[in-house]
């Protein structure tokens, strides 16, 4: 059923390539390379069409949409609690982090605020999902460059974090734990002690990965100076998260905006890197896992007592209005523009996902690179297909 569109696409590529054809010194025949839609190096169903001149990419364009599930339309026919269950699955590696900005936007419209204990636990789970997400990135990074060992280590240590999330929320992957006005439940007994242990293990994992991968000569030569994104280009494309900070822009929504989360009660460092290359992006993420473990450690020491749920009506109706809330998710800035007309469900939700903006830069950054670098650049930009297509 899509054959027609693919043919259209191919003729479009051919026309583009004819325009962009470079015949510099040697008469070479161009070639179109199709990667995907299912390819181990693309973390899901991203398809990349690259026009090559020898080993060099003259034009590359990702073709998204193989995972488009129509979230923005579906949110219009769901009630607010149902939307929470749905949006877990946008960025499936850091599920809990997807819920938080939406819930905060709804709370902002309802003019309520979660109790301090709930805000604390939210922040803890938010950072745990960041660890679960980015630790898999660190493992996967090795696979992209031919090192298979790190991915086994990542899966091994990620299990500990998933067990914690499951222990607290009941869901390994998609907790659906956040409620408008608080959380579904309090933490189980003994959870905090276990968390301390796991954070230690995760810090060891970071050290291991740093020795094994970041210290590796091949890894360095394949990432240093490759895929450089200057700061002004990064801002224009709306890159966020580690990709933006790797270009030297000191911007972290955890620190730079006031939200009812517990980030103002902890001491953490926002890392930046001046280089803007693949190496910088990977390195920033490694540091972020470390910072996240420290944030969790501090938060479990200062967990305030009290309820985890404020008084909300039995059937939630959100007053008319518009609200925008974004948070610093594992992949970058994730935000929801929620429009309510006073009903049980939202009138419209615009989902601003981080990967969509992060990947929209690929036609710019892939121009002129060599074929093997496509993989490392995409790996370092780090995207999740559900987060691009939604």
């Amino acid at each position: 059923m899509t054959m027609l569109s693919e043919r259209q696409q191919l003729s479009y590529i051919a026309a583009q390539a004819a325009d962009a054809r470079l015949n510099v010194e040697l008469e070479t025949e161009g070639m179109t390379l199709n990667i995907g839609p299912q390819h181990p190096a693309t973390h899901g169903t991203l398809r990349i069409i690259a026009r090559l001149d020898g080993e060099q990419v003259i034009w590359a364009e990702p073709s998204a949409g193989y995972m488009h599930r129509g979230y923005e339309k579906l949110t219009e026919v769901r009630t607010f609690p149902q939307v929470t269950a749905l949006i877990n699955r946008i960025d499936w590696l850091g599920s809990f982090a997807n819920e938080v900005p939406f819930i905060l936007a709804a709370e902002q419209l309802m003019e309520i605020e979660a109790p301090p204990r709930a805000q604390h636990i939210r922040t803890i789970l938010f950072e745990l999902s960041r660890i679960a997400n980015v630790s898999l990135f660190l493992g996967d990074l090795g696979v992209q460059m031919g090192a298979v060992t790190p991915v086994f280590m990542a899966f091994r240590d990620r299990e500990y974090v998933l067990n914690l999330i499951e222990g607290a929320t009941g869901g390994r992957f998609h907790p659906n734990f956040d409620r408008i006005g608080g959380l579904k439940d309090d933490l189980p007994k003994g959870w905090l002690d276990e968390t301390r242990q796991v954070m230690k293990k995760l810090r060891n994992f970071c050290d291991e990965i740093e020795d094994l991968l970041f210290g590796n000569e091949i890894f360095q030569s394949r990432t240093r100076g490759i895929g450089v994104i200057p700061a002004d280009v990064a801002r224009q494309y709306g890159l966020s998260g580690a990709n933006l900070r790797a270009s030297g822009v000191d911007w972290d929504l955890r620190r730079d905006q006031k939200l009812p989360l517990a980030y103002d009660k902890v001491d953490f460092r926002v890392w930046t890197h001046p280089d803007g290359d693949s190496w910088a992006r990977c390195w920033i993420r490694l540091q972020e896992v470390r910072e996240a473990t420290k944030i969790v450690d501090q938060l479990i020491e200062t967990l305030p007592p009290g309820p985890v749920m404020t008084k909300v009506p039995r059937i939630i109706k959100v007053p008319e209005g518009e609200a925008w809330v974004s948070t610093e998710n594992p992949l970058g800035e994730m935000g929801y523009y929620v429009v309510s007309k006073g009903g049980l469900g939202p009138f419209r939700v615009k989902i601003r996902s981080a990967s969509f903006n992060n990947i929209s830069i690929t036609p710019w950054v892939l121009k002129g690179v060599y074929v093997p670098d496509i993989i490392t650049i995409l790996a370092s930009l780090y995207f999740i297909l559900g987060d691009i297509d939604r």
Partner: protein, 224 residues
């Protein structure tokens, strides 16, 4: 969120947001009467509606002011859905309440069914602005507005998405191919009159059960 966490002492003093006032004043001096309406929640957020002709000029003016981080660009369809909302059975007749079918725009007002929606951020001053613009429909039903690609390169994919979802054309966009859907897909999914066929065939049973809220329980667990 500042006004939500206040303890009640500052309730009497009206909140004055100098930063956002200054942004609006600067924008007015740059593009003049093209700023139609402004809505502000002091200390939280800012909405500005500009005329459709000044869409690109507004983007340029904001970028020159320091809003160089492009957050997102999309559109809104303000018509209430003829199929009801999620809790309604879409096969039911919608009641003849005239106010239910009325097109009612949100913050900063509006005159047309479709509105542009974009958000840009100033990373130095830590402030964002949501920009809106009415998109008038021409007699043949097509809509178009100036493209932002020359202002923010990142608008490229967002405009493709908006074109696919709402059918709004962008003048000056090089390539408005479908981003998500197959090329032969008919209709614009995010328009409110686009039906979800599965719901028409098998209606949602409605709200059958509501989970009791944990706060209503008296025995609250304490683990620390």
């Amino acid at each position: 969120m500042a006004q939500l966490s206040d303890t009640g002492t500052s309730e009497e003093t009206p909140v004055i947001d100098e930063l956002r006032d200054e942004i609006v004043a600067k924008l007015r001096s740059d593009i003049g009467d093209a700023v139609i309406d402004v809505h502000q929640i002091p200390g939280v957020d800012l909405w500005v509606r500009v005329s459709a002709d000044a869409w690109r000029a507004a983007g340029e003016a904001l970028r020159a002011q320091g809003f160089d981080y492009f957050c997102f660009l999309s559109a809104m369809d303000w018509m209430p859905s003829p199929f009801g909302t999620g809790e309604n059975d879409p096969t039911d007749e919608v009641e003849d309440d005239p106010s239910a079918a009325e097109v009612r725009q949100g913050y900063a007002g509006g005159e047309t069914r479709f509105q542009m929606l974009a958000r840009v951020t100033d990373l130095r001053r830590h402030v964002s602005i949501t920009l809106k613009a009415d998109v008038p429909e021409s007699p043949d039903g097509s809509m178009s507005i100036a493209s932002w690609i020359s202002v923010y390169a990142g608008a490229n994919w967002h405009e493709r998405e908006t074109h696919e979802m709402f059918g709004i054309n962008f003048d000056g966009h090089p390539d408005l191919r479908n981003m998500y859907l197959p090329g032969d897909f008919e209709g614009y999914p995010l328009r409110k009159d686009f039906p979800l066929l599965a719901r028409l065939v098998k209606p949602w049973p409605g709200i059958v059960d509501v989970e009791p809220m944990p706060a209503s329980d008296d025995d609250e667990g304490d683990d620390s």
